[in-house]
């Protein structure tokens, strides 16, 4: 009891110093958490991938399409349960800065494969009935104020011309980490329009999303699919949805690595600050530690006092930092709009934040604690407190 009392009162002895150290810890833990969440957001697509979904694309590059008739061949491969078509649309809503992903999809098939997108049945039926209908995710709808019945105009870039859609449904995510920042509309509408405007670009598919019956056979089925189109004009590359998503992450891997490094640098900086605080603290109290040892307290007790104080400060900073992360992340997510489709502070991030605070608390106390424990009593008693 006396031990905990000493730790608590020592920690509050220099309120300004302790307060500033805690503030530094809060900022570091918060920054670390936010940066880790940004990294997590980068991987959100891969993390949300389902093991029973494969993606088939043109083997040369994603920018090259594949003929529509591949769909029937893919469907005929044993183990394939369902095939959907999807094209990246890349239109501009009002301003290029107002970016959000838009896909033309084979709606009836596609949404059967993505049960994590939840619709109100009535809205879904209305969407399927309307050839120019569109569905938007809840986050996207909230970002730009889209409501069912609204007209949604887009200016085409990949598919030229002005396009107009009617929002028929707003989908919800089955989980908090489900991406609800996307817009979908009918692939048939895109294809028919292209037939009129640029006929040579009709019946071209960006990717086929393939649902398979047994995820354990994904490698085998991928090979079988690609074998169908070997030596054709558009050879294919089939991979799991997760691998497909990770391919996008790999394109920006340097940024992700940079963010990761910065997040750990932040922790290292606060470690140096905290270690300095604890070193000053231990130096100032050498005569007290010597007195305790003279009274019969073991060196370990003295070291534990330093460690306990360091851990107490780190724990407060860590907990407040974690507590601040959630509202700040929510604010950050709002400010960045649909840049990060999923911006969720994960349990793993929270654990890492607390772990980092704990590690800082321990590491910062190592040398000062050792010094306090090893101080010769006669030298410590001579020290000026």
């Amino acid at each position: 009891m006396q031990f905990l009392k000493l730790i608590a009162r020592n920690a509050l002895r220099h309120k300004l110093r302790t307060g500033l150290t805690v503030l530094g810890l809060v900022i570091a833990v918060l920054s670390f958490g936010l940066l880790q969440t940004v990294v997590g957001a980068w991987y959100a697509g891969a993390n949300n991938a389902a093991p029973d979904r494969l993606v088939t694309r043109n083997a040369i590059s994603l920018v090259f399409p594949m003929p529509l008739h591949y769909r029937d061949k893919i469907r005929a491969v044993p183990g394939v349960k369902r095939v959907g078509t999807a094209n990246w649309f890349g239109g501009i809503y009002q301003d290029p800065k107002k970016f959000f992903p838009q896909f033309a999809v084979d709606a009836a098939q596609y949404f059967e494969m993505y049960p994590e997108y939840r619709f109100a049945e009535e809205e879904k039926r209305a969407f399927l009935r309307d050839r120019r209908g569109a569905v938007v995710g809840r986050k996207l709808a909230e970002t730009y104020g889209f409501r069912v019945g609204d007209t949604l105009p887009l200016r085409g870039t990949i598919f030229p011309g002005d396009w107009s859609f009617t929002v028929r449904a707003i989908y919800e995510g089955a989980e908090a980490r489900t991406d609800t920042s996307q817009m979908f509309f009918h692939w048939d509408y895109l294809n028919e329009t292209m037939k009129r405007r640029v006929p040579r670009r009709a019946d071209q598919v960006g990717v086929f999303v393939v649902q398979i019956a047994d995820p354990a056979r994904s490698a085998e089925i991928s090979q079988a699919l690609d074998a169908q189109f070997r030596n054709s004009a558009a050879e294919t590359l089939t991979e799991t949805e997760k691998a497909f998503q990770l391919g996008f992450v790999a394109m920006t891997e340097a940024i992700v690595v940079g963010i990761r490094v910065v997040s750990f640098v932040v922790v290292f900086i606060i470690l140096a600050v905290m270690a300095n605080t604890m070193a000053m603290t231990a130096r100032e109290r050498l005569s007290e530690y010597a007195t305790l040892k003279a009274l019969g307290f073991a060196p370990g007790y003295v070291a534990a006092l330093v460690l306990g104080e360091s851990l107490a400060i780190a724990a407060v900073g860590g907990l407040v930092g974690v507590g601040c992360t959630f509202p700040v992340a929510a604010w950050f997510s709002t400010q960045t709009g649909t840049l990060f489709p999923v911006f969720e502070v994960s349990l793993a991030t929270t654990a890492m934040q607390l772990g980092a605070a704990l590690a800082v608390g321990i590491a910062a106390a190592l040398l000062p604690g050792q010094r306090a424990a090893r101080v010769r009593i006669v030298d410590g008693l001579r020290a000026i407190g």
């Binding site: 007290e288 040892k293 003279a294 019969g296 009593i377």
Partner: protein, 239 residues
């Protein structure tokens, strides 16, 4: 009350101590040998640098000699391992320092209780012991005060209460009045004398102050690390 010394508490045998300063070895104590009787109140005097604080540290087991032996109640404390020595100090020695050395974040009560937390006493027993010690030093009404809320004399009395609360065989005091005004010094010395006379505590006190030394009933003079020529003759009773 009889002050007859019944047996030897401390036996110092051929104790030498030197320090290394700036690459040079400075001998502080040279082969000292003397006894301190149980219930004695010994004053150690001498000029600055004579080695009296060093000798006190050795007697209290917070420093070790280079040579020689120090037996306290039959235990050679110079050969005890550090952990055993810490246990020995906790049970056998009470410390009174020149600058009190109280924990500033603990109240007077908690400071006095501190050494008792190393004992198996229950919380209730500890409280009783602390209350008794504070009553003895006349600070029962200051139990909840922090050191910064007490005068120098009061802080030293708290330190004395802390020194005696474990009922040690030996109390060592290093310039206990060195930081006090005359009146506070007189109160502290009177308290130490009371502990010696009334409770039979063996006290070894380092002091520069001849007035303080008069409260001891034996004095040893140290000069250049040696008990000065005819030291035994200088040992004198002041009562």
């Amino acid at each position: 009350m009889s002050r007859r010394v019944s047996s030897t508490l401390i036996e110092v045998r051929g104790v030498s101590k030197s320090y290394r300063r700036g690459g040079q070895v400075v001998a502080v104590l040279h082969g000292l040998s003397f006894d301190v009787q149980r219930g004695d109140f010994l004053g150690l005097m001498g000029p600055s640098g004579s080695g009296k604080s060093t000798l006190l540290n050795l007697l209290a087991g917070i420093d070790k000699p280079d040579a020689g032996a120090i037996l306290v109640d039959g235990v050679d404390i110079t050969v005890l391992p550090e952990s055993d020595l810490a246990d020995w100090r906790a049970t056998s020695v009470g410390f009174v320092f020149q600058f009190y050395n109280l924990m500033p974040v603990l109240t007077a009560f908690e400071n006095v209780e501190l050494p008792l937390t190393l004992t198996p006493l229950s919380r209730r027993e500890r409280r009783e012991h602390v209350a008794a010690a504070l009553r003895l030093v006349g600070l029962a009404d200051r139990a909840e005060h922090y050191p910064s809320e007490l005068s120098g004399g009061q802080q030293q009395r708290v330190a004395i209460a802390r020194a005696l609360v474990t009922d040690p065989k030996l109390i060592v005091a290093d310039e206990p009045t060195g930081d006090l005004d005359r009146q506070s010094a007189a109160e502290v010395l009177s308290l130490l004398e009371q502990l010696n006379v009334q409770f039979g505590k063996t006290i070894v006190m380092v002091t520069h102050d001849r007035r303080a030394a008069e409260h001891a009933h034996a004095i040893k003079y140290l000069d250049k690390g040696e008990l000065s020529e005819g030291a035994d003759l200088l040992e004198r009773s002041v009562r």
